[in-house]
């Protein structure tokens, strides 16, 4: 099994190298693959369900929390200046752990270290709301993730995961998002997989959801074992995808079908 597996892995890796990256000028957001009515939903704050989470986030931002009795606003002040462009640089290198952390993890480390509060569970309404409120401050800002040279080895790992074929269906992310993005998988448009809009409202979920949730859905779709929320592999994939989308404008909170 191990030997056969190693040989197959070598063969598959050889296959994966053929994947071609999308040139800068041809990069397209998932937005451009959507029908006009779904686009209109994203464009209009009053029609965009994601704005409900942003509003909740605003309340939470100002609410004192944890043993330190501090609100986010007590340290960061006016979010529209202190957090402008920040989400467009995440995941970012965290000196304390020597690893990249995504925006949700950064919010939770602020809770633990500065508010002395318990971490919020992944995909909880509160964590999504705070993340959406912070990410909203970067709407329109170009993605800059990956500029820090300390991130290079983690971006490389993310790219490896992106190219690796996996699951019972034996597909890699690149098979769809680099090689077949102008096609349809049954009823769904296959996009280029740029994470410009997260956290975003997905009509299928009837909820806001994180990029990790989206990645887990694609991984389960190819019948592979989804990584747990917060797993280093998921953060590395997020990091690779964000660096792959460099220069594209942030859209959070976006809407997707």
């Amino acid at each position: 099994m191990r030997l056969a597996g190693a040989i197959a892995a070598a063969l598959l890796a050889a296959g994966a190298v053929g994947a071609t990256e999308i040139p800068q000028a041809e990069r397209r957001s998932g937005y451009s693959f959507m029908k006009p009515d779904t686009r209109a939903m994203q464009d209009e704050d009053t029609a965009n369900p994601g704005m409900l989470w942003v509003l909740d986030g605003e309340t939470l931002w100002k609410r004192k929390s944890g043993a330190a009795e501090k609100a986010c606003a007590d340290c960061h002040g006016d979010i529209s200046t202190s957090m402008k462009g920040i989400a467009a640089r995440y995941p970012a290198f965290d000196n304390a752990t020597g690893r990249p952390v995504d925006l949700e993890q950064r919010i939770n480390s602020c809770r633990a270290n500065h508010q002395q509060a318990t971490p919020l569970p992944f995909e909880s309404r509160e964590l999504l709301a705070l993340t959406a409120f912070v990410a909203r401050q970067s709407q329109g800002s170009p993605i800059e993730t990956g500029a820090d040279p300390q991130l290079a080895p983690f971006i490389a790992k993310g790219r490896e995961l992106y190219l690796q074929r996996q699951g019972q269906l034996n597909l890699g992310c690149a098979n769809c998002h680099d090689d077949n993005w102008d096609k349809r998988l049954a009823g769904s448009a296959i996009t280029q997989g740029h994470p410009t809009g997260y956290p975003l409202y997905r009509l299928e979920w009837q909820s806001l959801g994180s990029l990790q949730r989206r990645l887990r859905a694609c991984i389960t779709g190819i019948r592979a074992q989804a990584y747990d929320y917060g797993a280093p592999e998921l953060v590395e994939l997020e990091l690779y995808l964000m660096s792959r989308a460099r220069g594209m404008p942030m859209e959070a909170p976006a809407v997707r079908p």
């Binding site: 598959l12 019972q168 049954a186």
Partner: protein, 152 residues
């Protein structure tokens, strides 16, 4: 002269090579003989049922129409990652269609078409699907029986 090779479940091979009794096959794949680019003999020893095969192909969970389109007017959503299945039976023999379904990777190492009757050489398969082929031998025979009827 026809080249004849035999294949068996990767797990079975591993069991033999490593002599680990604990690795007994979770799913025993049946033996089959590959002759050139085809598997001439039925995996089950019996002919499949074309009507059941059609039902399987249009069923989303079989995954075919995620990528393929075909003569399925009742199916609103069909994929366009792969050739239209109309006329498959004119282009390929029964044995060629069978090998394509069983292990398309054998014919084209870069194909995105999954191997429907293979459990080895896969990475990180999710728990519900681990050590199981995507389709059973019976299901493959039903689909093959249907595909040969698609003539142009």
């Amino acid at each position: 002269m026809a080249r004849l090779t035999y294949r068996m479940s990767g797990r079975f091979i591993a069991g033999l090579m490593l002599a680990l009794p604990g690795l007994a096959a979770a799913t025993e794949l049946r033996f089959y003989a590959v002759d050139g680019d085809a598997i001439p003999q039925s995996l089950t020893g019996a002919a499949g049922d074309a009507a059941r095969g059609r039902a399987l192909v249009v069923e989303r969970s079989s995954t075919c129409i995620l990528c393929h389109s075909g003569p399925f007017p009742e199916q609103k959503f069909q994929g366009d990652l792969a050739p239209d299945l109309s006329g498959s039976g004119s282009r390929w023999s029964e044995g060629q269609l069978r090998l394509r379904l069983v292990d398309a990777l054998r014919l084209n190492a870069e194909t995105i078409m999954p191997s429907y009757y293979r459990v080895d050489g896969l990475q990180r398969v999710g728990t519900p699907w681990r050590d199981k082929p995507i389709l059973s031998a019976e299901q493959i025979e039903d689909i093959v029986a249907y595909l040969v009827t698609l003539r142009e």
